[in-house]
C-alpha cells in the first residue's frame, strides 16, 4: 500500500493505506483517533466533520490521497484540555444527549466562528444545518454557539 504523510493536530504521521481510503477511516482505524464519527459515509450528516487548513470538511468524503500537505484538525485537536470556548460553552449549556454527532457539530461550529466570530441566528442556522442530530439538541447548539461568541441568548420555557 502507498505511504502518505499526514499532519494531524500538529503531529506528523506516516500511514500505509489504500489511496482511496477516506480520511475518516485513516483517522479512526489507522491512527485510533475515534472522536471523528462515522454516520452516513456519504457526506449527508456531518458526524465526520474535521478541518483541513481550517476549512470544514467531511472526512468520509475525502480520500487520504487528496489531503496532501493540508493540516488536519480533529475534535481531539481543538484544544488539549477542553478549553476551546465552544467546548466550554457546550459543557455549560449541557448540549449533548447521545453525543454521537457532537464532535461534528463542534467542528462545524468552530469553522463557523472562524468565519463569523459573532454569528447571528441566521448565520448559525446556515452554518449548522448540514449537521444532523437525531436527539434534537439544535436549540442548545445555538445557545452554546452564542455563548462561545460572547453573546447572550434567550431562554424559553421552564417550570410552572
Amino acid at each position: 500500500m502507498p505511504d502518505f504523510s499526514l499532519n494531524v493536530n500538529g503531529s506528523d504521521h506516516k500511514v500505509s493505506v489504500a489511496a482511496n481510503t477516506p480520511l475518516l477511516w485513516v483517522l479512526r482505524d489507522t491512527l485510533a483517533m475515534t472522536g471523528t464519527k462515522f454516520g452516513c459515509g456519504a457526506g449527508l450528516c456531518g458526524a465526520c466533520s474535521v478541518h483541513l487548513n481550517g476549512e470544514l470538511t467531511r472526512s468520509c468524503s475525502v480520500a487520504v490521497s487528496e489531503v496532501g500537505a493540508r493540516k488536519i484538525t480533529t475534535i481531539e485537536g481543538l484544544s488539549p484540555d477542553r478549553s476551546h470556548p465552544l467546548q466550554k460553552a457546550w459543557i455549560t449549556e449541557d448540549v449533548p444527549q447521545c453525543g454521537y454527532c457532537q464532535s461534528g457539530q463542534i467542528m462545524a461550529a468552530a469553522a463557523l466562528l472562524m468565519k463569523s466570530p459573532a454569528p447571528n441566528d441566521e448565520q448559525i442556522t446556515a452554518g449548522m444545518s448540514r449537521n444532523l442530530c437525531r436527539c434534537g439538541t439544535y436549540d442548545r447548539i445555538r445557545k452554546a454557539i452564542h455563548r462561545a461568541a460572547g453573546q447572550p441568548s434567550s431562554n424559553a420555557g421552564g417550570a410552572l
Partner: protein, 713 residues
C-alpha cells in the same frame, strides 16, 4: 477487570472489610410491557463506598442520550447525602445482579426510583450507625451531610470513606426512612450531565469506537430482499482487496468480509459476488401491505380483540363522524450505525456492544453459539442513540457468529448507514378506523377506534397478554371518560421484521385519536381545547390495562399548554395552530404547534410542550428529553417513511430518510407541572402529541385533513 466482575467480587468481599457494598433486593417491579412480559427477579442496583472516600454508583441501564448515567445516580446520592462532586459512576454490563436491565419504555427513572432511594437510605443509615458506635453517642445526634457524618455536640466529623469499613459490617436495614421532598438537595435541581465533558473532546467511547489488540473489522453483505438467502458466493475478487483476511457465510442470509480495516472490509464487500435466493417476498410492496391491512379491516370473520370497552358504541345514537387514518413503516436511524465487537475464546464469548438489552444479547449469543449464558460476557458501551433500535439483539448475535469463524481474534462488526436503513426491523404500519357519535349539543357520546396492524411482540414470539399483543395491550390508553367507548385491535401478519420505536403504539394511537378528536370538535362546532377540557371536566380515575390515569392531570397539562401558548389570543395573520395531548408511560403531555403554510407544506415556527411527569429528578435532562421527543415526532410526522418495492427497502441513507435539520427546527418551549407524584417516563411522552397537533394546525390553516402520514407524502 470489568465493572461487573469487580462488583461481584466486592459483593463477596464486603464482609471481609473491602468497604460498604449495598445490594438492593427491591420489590418486584414488574416487567416492561413492551417486552412482552419478560420477567426476572433480582436486585436492582448497587453502590460502593471505598475507604478512599470514593462513592461509586453503578448504572445498570444503558446511556443512549436520555441521561441515565446522571439521573439514576442523583436519586441514590440524594438519599445517601452524598457529596455529588465526588460521586463516580460505573456502567454495568449484562449481569444477574440487577434485575431486568432493559433500557426502554421510558422506564429507567420510574422503575428504579424506589429501589435507588432505598439503596441510598440504607447506606446512609448504616454510616450513621457506624459513626454513632465509634463515638459512643446516640444515632439521633448524628447527621449525614455531603459525604460525611457529623456529631454537632462534640464537633466530630467522619467521612463516608472513614466509616465504610465499619458500616460494611453492620446489618442492612430493611426499611430505612426516606427523605421528604422538601428536603431534597440534589433531586429536582439543574445538575449538569456527568457524560457531557467526554462528549465535547472525542473521548466518549461508543460501541463503534471499541479497539482491541489484533482486532479485525467485518462488514456483511445481507440479502437485499427481506427473508432472502445466500444461494452461492464468489469471494475471489473480495480476497484480492488488500487487507481482506477472510470471507465467511454467516447464517443463511449474510456473507461477512473480515479485514484489517473498516475500509478494506467495505471494499471487499463491494468486490464480493453473491447470488441470492430472493425467497417468498420478492414481490412484496408497501402497496400490497396496505391492501392487506384494508382487507383485514373489512373481513367480518376476522375477530378483533377488545382493548377497552365501556357502554355500548353500537347502541349509542346521534350524529356520526367517521375517518380512517394510516401511519407508515418507520426506521429508527440512530446516528451511530449498528456495531458490536466480539471475541470467541476459551469456551466463551465476550462482547462490547451499544445495546439497550445486554441480558438479551447475552442469552441470544449463548443460544446461537451453544454456550452456557455464564460463558457470555456483555460489556455495555455508550450508545449513539437508541430509539428502540438497540432493543434488538441482532448486532450482538451477528458479531458473535462472525467472531466464531476466527477464534481468538476480536472482530468488530460494523453496519453502514445503508445496512441500518435497509436491513433493520421497522416500526409497523397501522390502519385506524375511527367513528364517533355526537349528541344534540355537539358533544361526543360514543368513540370507536379499530386498529389494524401487525403486532411487534407477537411477531417476535412473546406470549399474548389477555389474548392481546402485549405492547398494544399496555399502550394506547384512551383517557377521555366518554359513556360509550370501544377500542379494538385486528392483528395481522407481515414478513417485514418489526421493532419498537420510541413511544411505540402511543405514536400511532395518539395521532389517530387526537387528530380525529379535532374532527369531532369541528363537527360539533367546538374549539379543540374546549372539547378536551369538557370531556375531562370531572375528576376521574381511568383504569386502562394495568395503569391508572387521572383526568385532572391530563386537564392540568392542557390548561398549562393553553396558558403558555396564549391559546385564547389571536395569532398574527397567516399563523395557525393545533393542539393535542396524550398520556403514556404514566406521564401526561400536551402540545401546541404553530405554523404557516408555504404552498401546500407547513413551516412549523413554534411548539409549546407541557408535561406532568410527577417528581422531576433533573429539570436539565427533562428539558433535553422534551426537545428530543418533539424533534423526533416532527421528523416522523413531516417525512418519516420506509417503503418497500420488490421485497427491498427503498430508502438507503439520510438523503431519502432525513431527520429534521436545524433550519427546520422550530422554537420549542418546555413547561412542566410541579408536584410530588412518583416520577414517570419522559423519554417518550412528548413524541405522540406532535403529529396530531401538527395536522390539526394544518387543518386550521387549510381546512384539509391530513389522515395519512407523513405530511410530505
Amino acid at each position: 477487570m470489568s465493572p461487573v466482575s469487580r462488583r461481584e467480587l466486592l459483593l463477596g468481599g464486603a464482609a471481609a472489610g473491602a468497604g460498604l457494598v449495598i445490594g438492593i433486593y427491591g420489590p418486584r417491579l414488574g416487567s416492561l410491557g413492551m417486552l412482552g412480559g419478560k420477567k426476572e427477579f433480582s436486585p436492582n442496583a448497587y453502590l460502593h463506598i471505598l475507604p478512599d472516600n470514593t462513592v461509586t454508583i453503578i448504572v445498570a441501564r444503558s446511556e443512549m442520550g436520555q441521561g441515565v448515567r446522571t439521573a439514576l445516580p442523583m436519586i441514590l446520592a440524594e438519599e445517601l447525602e452524598a457529596d455529588w462532586d465526588r460521586v463516580k459512576i460505573e456502567q454495568a454490563g449484562a449481569s444477574t445482579l440487577f434485575g431486568d436491565q432493559t433500557t426502554g419504555g421510558s422506564a429507567s427513572v420510574r422503575l428504579t426510583w424506589d429501589p435507588m432511594r432505598k439503596a441510598g437510605a440504607q447506606a446512609r443509615e448504616m454510616l450513621l450507625a457506624a459513626a454513632a458506635q465509634r463515638w459512643s453517642v446516640p444515632v439521633a445526634e448524628c447527621k449525614a451531610e455531603k459525604g460525611s457524618i457529623k456529631h454537632e455536640k462534640s464537633g466530630r466529623v467522619a467521612t463516608y470513606g472513614d466509616l465504610a469499613d465499619a458500616a460494611g459490617k453492620l446489618p442492612i436495614p430493611s426499611d430505612p426512612p426516606l427523605k421528604k421532598p422538601e428536603d431534597y438537595k440534589i433531586v429536582g435541581t439543574h445538575v449538569l450531565r456527568l457524560d457531557t465533558p467526554s462528549k465535547t473532546d472525542g473521548s466518549a467511547q461508543y460501541g463503534i469506537d471499541v479497539q482491541r489488540e489484533g482486532m479485525k473489522i467485518a462488514v456483511l453483505a445481507r440479502a437485499p430482499v427481506i427473508g432472502g438467502k445466500v444461494a452461492s458466493f464468489d469471494d475471489a475478487d473480495a480476497k484480492k482487496v488488500e487487507g481482506v483476511r477472510q470471507v465467511s457465510q454467516i447464517g443463511d442470509s449474510a456473507v461477512a468480509v473480515i479485514a484489517d480495516t473498516t475500509w478494506a472490509a467495505m471494499e471487499g464487500r463491494r468486490a464480493l459476488k453473491v447470488t441470492w435466493d430472493d425467497g417468498p417476498n420478492k414481490d412484496l410492496s408497501t402497496a400490497a401491505i396496505w391492501d392487506g391491512l384494508k382487507q383485514s379491516a373489512d373481513k367480518k370473520d376476522k375477530k378483533a380483540v377488545t382493548l377497552y370497552s365501556t357502554g355500548d358504541v353500537a347502541k349509542a345514537g346521534g350524529r356520526t363522524v367517521e375517518a380512517t387514518y394510516q401511519l407508515p413503516f418507520l426506521a429508527h436511524a440512530p446516528m451511530e450505525p449498528g456495531n458490536t465487537t466480539a471475541i470467541v475464546a476459551h469456551g466463551g464469548c465476550e462482547l462490547w456492544s451499544p445495546t439497550q438489552v445486554p441480558q438479551d444479547v447475552r442469552d441470544s449469543v449463548a443460544a446461537a453459539l451453544n454456550l452456557p449464558a455464564d460463558k457470555v460476557k456483555v460489556n455495555v458501551t455508550l450508545l449513539g442513540g437508541g430509539f428502540g433500535r438497540r432493543l434488538e439483539h441482532d448486532y450482538g448475535v451477528e458479531a458473535a457468529l462472525v467472531a466464531q469463524t476466527m477464534p481468538g481474534t476480536p472482530v468488530k462488526v460494523v453496519w453502514t448507514r445503508e445496512d441500518d436503513m435497509q436491513h433493520s426491523p421497522y416500526r409497523p404500519p397501522s390502519l385506524h378506523l375511527l367513528s364517533a357519535k355526537l349528541d344534540g349539543s355537539g358533544w361526543p357520546i360514543a368513540f370507536h377506534h379499530k386498529v389494524v396492524a401487525p403486532g411487534i411482540s407477537s411477531q417476535k414470539g412473546f406470549p399474548l397478554t389477555n389474548g392481546i399483543d402485549p405492547d398494544i395491550y399496555t399502550e394506547g390508553a384512551f383517557l377521555y371518560p366518554i359513556a360509550n367507548i370501544l377500542i379494538e385491535h385486528v392483528p395481522t401478519e407481515t414478513p417485514v421484521p418489526l421493532a419498537w420505536l420510541r413511544s411505540v403504539w402511543d405514536m400511532q394511537f395518539g395521532f389517530a385519536t387526537e387528530a380525529f378528536l379535532d374532527e369531532v370538535a369541528a363537527a360539533g362546532g367546538k374549539d379543540p381545547l374546549e372539547l378536551r377540557l369538557h370531556l375531562l371536566r370531572e375528576d376521574k380515575e381511568i383504569r386502562f390495562a394495568d395503569d391508572h390515569w387521572k383526568t385532572a392531570r391530563l386537564r392540568g397539562v392542557l390548561q398549562l399548554v393553553a396558558e403558555k401558548s396564549d391559546w385564547h389570543k389571536p395569532l398574527p395573520a397567516g399563523m395557525y395552530r393545533g393542539i393535542a395531548c396524550w398520556g403514556c408511560f404514566n406521564t401526561y403531555a400536551a402540545e401546541v404547534v404553530e405554523l404557516t403554510m408555504e404552498g401546500d407544506q407547513p413551516k412549523v415556527h413554534r411548539v409549546v410542550a407541557a408535561v406532568d411527569c410527577g417528581t422531576v429528578v433533573n429539570p436539565n435532562i427533562l428539558e433535553q428529553q422534551m426537545h428530543s421527543g418533539v424533534v423526533f415526532g416532527l421528523s416522523a410526522a413531516l417525512r418519516g417513511k420506509i417503503t418497500i418495492e420488490q421485497g427491498r427497502v427503498q430508502q438507503a441513507n439520510f438523503d431519502d430518510y432525513e431527520p429534521l435539520r436545524m433550519n427546520e427546527f422550530p422554537k420549542v418551549e418546555t413547561y412542566w407541572v410541579k408536584n410530588t407524584e412518583p416520577p414517570s417516563g419522559i423519554g417518550e411522552p412528548t413524541v405522540p402529541p406532535v403529529s396530531p397537533a401538527l395536522c390539526n394546525a394544518i387543518y386550521s390553516a387549510t381546512k384539509k385533513r391530513i389522515r395519512i402520514l407523513p405530511v410530505q407524502g
